[in-house]
């Protein structure tokens, strides 16, 4: 792995123009200075350190290895091969079943006694089976165990449950173009009609925290000094009356991904609360593609509330603030159709400064979020808390929310 490999890998990703390659959009040119130094010339200011650390599309691989595959390189990768520069290499891969990685002896970081030589990934879909395997010790690491079982699991001496807020949150983007949600007061009213705390403590067994705006807890640009809507039906009624809907009397359509039980429960609980205000909420579950298709259609014919998760492609508040709330001529992910030039100015400036003056960038991002929250452009439900379950004798585990569910086996030992 050297500077040439860095240049080759990133240029190949950029040229492919697929997946998350757009994260390299600011890059104008990559110049190799010497064996271990590269210089990036950018088209516009951008936080290149964060981009290079992205969990998506920022891998460095061996040019010779890729070239050896010729035109079939992409298919060859998809079949389960690697040309990477990391500590492990793929030993075997059976689609839908099992992946075995084994240590690469000449890894540049070197090897210490006690580190794992091999790691085996098994696809086990059923959560109760995963739980039984971790309890029996036939698996060492797992996640996505039913939340209600985690406390019992954590009480066992041979198992540890690690919990950590993730960079993923659930939002309901409000259609600001279509009546009645084009009225800020109505949007604020329905933001007051969701029982955040109760939902998190009961339905989610406490494995979430109520959001402060769109930037999740733990990420730079997050601020717990921002205003938070709380469950307050009296306040909601008051706002509705001011907006000219003293007894509600209108219907809203909320779309979400069918099969996502948490999203569905959000809809069911909210529906019951909104009914108390005389508002009918229709909760429509559909495939993501269909939900997104509807969202991208004419805003006047589209849903009123678009419920979805967001997580960053690289660790920057701009991912949340730009993708979902920046003015868009042709709709892509701004599925509440919010457009505010002052807001855009703040976040664009924040993004430009985030590589050079992060403190100022953070201040601008927080200011921009104040506008969003005051405008109630979305209902910010909660930031997800991830849980990972490990056998107690595994040491060195750290959950890094920048790389959700990635286990760095190189750091582990028993």
């Amino acid at each position: 792995m050297n500077a040439q490999a860095v240049k080759y890998s990133i240029e190949r990703t950029m040229n492919m123009g697929m997946g998350a390659s757009y994260i390299w959009d600011p890059v104008e040119e990559i110049i190799v200075i010497d064996d271990y130094t590269v210089r990036f010339r950018l088209k516009y200011p951008a936080p290149l350190d964060l981009i290079a650390a992205s969990g998506y599309g920022a891998w460095i691989f061996s040019p010779a290895c890729v070239e050896a595959q010729g035109e079939r390189a992409s298919e060859w990768f998809n079949e389960g091969h690697d040309c990477g520069s990391g500590p492990y290499t793929i030993e075997s891969y059976e689609r839908g079943r099992r992946l075995v990685i084994t240590r690469f002896d000449d890894y540049w970081g070197g090897w210490k006694p006690g580190q794992f030589h091999k790691a085996v990934f098994e696809i086990v879909e059923d959560p109760t089976v995963r739980q039984q395997m971790i309890e029996a010790g036939t698996a060492d690491v797992t996640y996505d165990i039913p939340r209600e079982n985690l406390a019992t699991l954590d009480a066992r001496p041979d198992v540890v449950v690690y919990t950590q807020p993730s960079f993923q949150n659930l939002l309901g983007l409000l259609n600001v173009r279509k009546p009645p949600l084009d009225n800020k007061l109505v949007r604020q009213a329905i933001s007051y009609a969701f029982p955040y705390e109760q939902f998190i403590n009961t339905v989610l067994s406490g494995y979430a925290v109520q959001s402060y705006g769109p930037v999740p807890i733990g990420m730079w640009g997050h601020s717990n000094r921002l205003f938070q809507y709380t469950y307050n039906l009296d306040k909601a009624r008051e706002l509705l009356a001011q907006a000219g809907y003293p007894n509600g009397g209108f219907k809203l359509v909320m779309t979400h991904v069918a099969g996502d039980m948490d999203e569905r429960k959000v809809g069911e609980v909210w529906k019951a609360e909104l009914a108390k205000l005389g508002i009918e909420l229709e909760v429509q579950g559909m495939s993501w593609e269909a939900q997104w298709d509807l969202g991208k259609s004419d805003p006047m014919q589209a849903q009123d509330i678009f419920v979805m998760y967001w997580w960053p492609d690289y660790v920057s508040p701009y991912s949340f603030l730009y993708s979902m709330f920046h003015c868009e001529e042709e709709i892509l992910f701004n599925l509440g159709y919010y457009c505010n030039p002052e807001y855009d100015r703040l976040i664009d400036l924040g993004n430009e400064l985030s590589g050079s003056n992060r403190a100022e960038a953070e201040r601008l991002f927080v200011e921009a979020q104040k506008i969003l929250i005051e405008d109630a452009a979305a209902v910010f439900f909660y930031d997800i808390v991830n849980s990972h379950v490990l056998r107690a004798d595994i040491r060195g585990y750290v959950d890094n929310p920048s790389y959700p569910h990635v286990v760095f086996f190189y750091e582990l030992s028993r």
Binding site: A136, E289, S323
Partner: protein, 340 residues
């Protein structure tokens, strides 16, 4: 009519059925609201990426053109590419179909070797303790929910007794140290051919619980079906004559009576076999069995239409062929059946 003429005619009809199925699945795939291009490019695409994907997948062409292209690929034996994994579907099927077939075949073998003898003995010894037991077993087997039985068996044989593995086709140790060389994709057969005995016994231990869970319905069905036809057949005059002639009871039951009683049981078992190809999904999920059921469920959940269409065609082909074989076997076993 000569038998080969009959087979040829049935195969021609099968082609028509497959054509009809391909047309219907294609239309459904295009009517259901979804965007295959969005699935192809993955999360967070740009508008340019979406447009490029639409052109690449031919989604910008009129529907009849799209269907003719699809049909042309089918005739060349190309089932298309999964829009989610970007892998040729035929390659995926090579991995997933043998896994399911192996599971279903072992399950059907269990149904035949447990269900039919129990049905025969139960019918022959009406109202005995064995009869009561097997009738109870049959009712329980057809009514017990598969997912619940699977979980119970896992708790008993994995968690409590530690006799059998909980999931997968082979253990991690076999993958690492005694890997099975893939010849047919059937692990039991491949390990047997290559004389990889540790892998064979490991694969056998892994298949017991899922195959039994899958087979319970067929076991119950074959007990009930065999019992009721045996009861009828045993009252026939030729059985009375055979018994009067002093033939051993085992010969009377399993040679003379069963031959006439087995046709309806075979019919339901054969249909149950084809149904299990995609119906094994619950068992496959619970036991992490990487088969066709899991594959097609993942495709359905993500609206991966090329995969759904390909699997529908494959399963239809299985239905057609199994039905044809069944008719031929029935004609061979029962002289009253005439092929027309």
């Amino acid at each position: 009519m000569k038998i080969w003429e009959y087979i040829l005619r049935r195969l021609m009809l099968a082609l028509l059925v497959l054509f009809g199925v391909s047309l219907v699945t294609f239309i459904i795939a295009r009517v259901v609201p979804s965007d295959p291009a969005a699935l192809w490019v993955g999360p967070r695409p740009t508008l340019e990426q979406l447009a490029a994907a639409r052109a690449k997948l031919g989604l910008d062409q009129p529907l009849p053109v799209q269907y003719l292209r699809y049909l042309g690929s089918l005739l060349r034996g190309d089932l298309g590419v999964s829009i989610k994994t970007h892998q040729p579907i035929i390659q995926d099927l090579r991995a997933y179909l043998p896994a399911t077939l192996e599971l279903v075949l072992v399950g059907m073998a269990m149904a035949v070797f447990i269900g039919i003898p129990l049905g025969v003995l139960s019918g022959a010894r009406r109202n005995s303790l064995l009869d009561h037991f097997s009738r109870l077993l049959a009712v329980a087997a057809v009514s017990i929910p598969t997912f619940w039985l699977g979980l119970l068996l896992q708790i008993l044989f994995f968690r409590e007794l530690r006799w059998l593995p909980i999931s997968g086709r082979v253990s991690i140790e076999t993958t690492l140290y005694q890997p099975i060389r893939t010849l047919t994709g059937f692990y039991l057969v491949d390990s047997l051919i290559t004389r990889n005995w540790p892998a064979f016994s490991d694969a056998l231990l892994h298949i017991i619980l899922p195959a039994f869970t899958l087979a319970t319905y067929a076991i119950g069905l074959s007990i009930r079906m065999t019992r009721s036809t045996i009861v009828e057949v045993l009252e026939e005059k030729y059985i009375v004559a055979a018994r009067a002639a002093g033939l051993p009871e085992r010969t009377v039951l399993f040679r003379l009576a069963l031959k006439n009683a087995i046709v309806p049981t075979l019919t339901v078992l054969a249909l149950s076999f084809v149904y299990s190809l995609t119906g094994a999904i619950l068992v496959e999920v619970i036991f992490s069995w990487p088969g066709l059921g899991s594959y097609v469920t993942a495709a359905v959940l993500s609206a991966d239409f090329p995969v759904i269409m390909a699997v529908t065609l494959i399963v239809t082909a299985f239905y057609v062929v199994i039905n044809l074989l069944l008719d031929l076997v029935q004609a061979a076993l029962d002289p009253r059946v005439v092929l027309r």
